[in-house]
């Protein structure tokens, strides 16, 4: 089973890279771009076939390693074939 995990900075946490991207977009003439935030996308292939068990395992992975919950949120998306 394939899963994708989006890791994003929590609201209120400063994102200097996002700000730099926002400024660069403005300089390229893309107007109306507001509040760019940069995150991470992690793809995981699991041998688990039960979606509930897979989600539980992925949550554990996020809490223990993949995300730092002091500053980051994570969203797990299980890909159905």
């Amino acid at each position: 089973m394939k899963a994708t995990i989006h890791i994003t900075l929590k609201n209120g946490v400063l994102d200097p890279q996002g700000k730099a991207i926002e400024n660069a977009l403005g300089q390229l003439g893309f107007n109306g771009v507001d509040d760019v935030r940069q995150g991470k996308l992690i793809e995981v292939n699991l041998s688990e076939t039960d979606p509930a068990k897979a989600e539980a395992a992925l949550t554990d992975m996020c809490e223990k390693l993949l995300a730092n919950t002091v500053i980051e949120n994570y969203h797990i998306h299980l890909d159905s074939e």
Partner: protein, 222 residues
Amino acid sequence: MQASVIVFPGSNCDRDVAVCVEAAMGKAPLMAWHGDATLPKSDLIVLPGGFSYGDYLRCGSMAANSPIMREVVAQAEKGAAVLGICNGFQVLTECGLLPGVLMQNKGLNFVCRNTRLTVTNNKTAFTTQYMADEEIIVPVAHNEGNYFADDDTLKQLQDEDRIAFTYAAGDNPNGACLDIAGICDKAGRIVGMMPHPERRAETALGGEDGKRMFTGIVEALS
């Protein structure tokens, strides 16, 4: 007294810090490899600066989950003194021995220069040889030194007098909350700091401001 320096793949200040510990203690510390599942009982454990595991995922996150860190955490919980410098500080926050997180520098640049620090707590196991609020010069060299914690944690650190070092007024190199350069645990035996005391521990290096961290902890543990 037994001291250990933990070496991760990508550590690059381990030998410098070993020189400082040996100079203070009169005996070379044990160099312990990240993959070791056991660590001889140590009174002092140093997590050195560098780029452990290439800073993959988040600085310090892979090192925090390495086999040796289970031993470091276990010994820290039993009262061993622990010093995390730069990447070592990042490892300490990632493994939960210290609160908060070191984010990317606000200015998006790697900063490598001397900083003026204020010793805000001279009662930790490492800082007793400094005067209260003494200003010292210690270099930083990092890309992720921007200390961040939520407001409750910051207030708790202030209330419990757990901010060990701050950057002096106007000298914050990375945007850290409350100008925090280093913090400690409740007992003052685990200290994490972004500046590198081992890089200013001999006159040949421009000054000896950092040396008292090492002579201080050896004195405290002797």
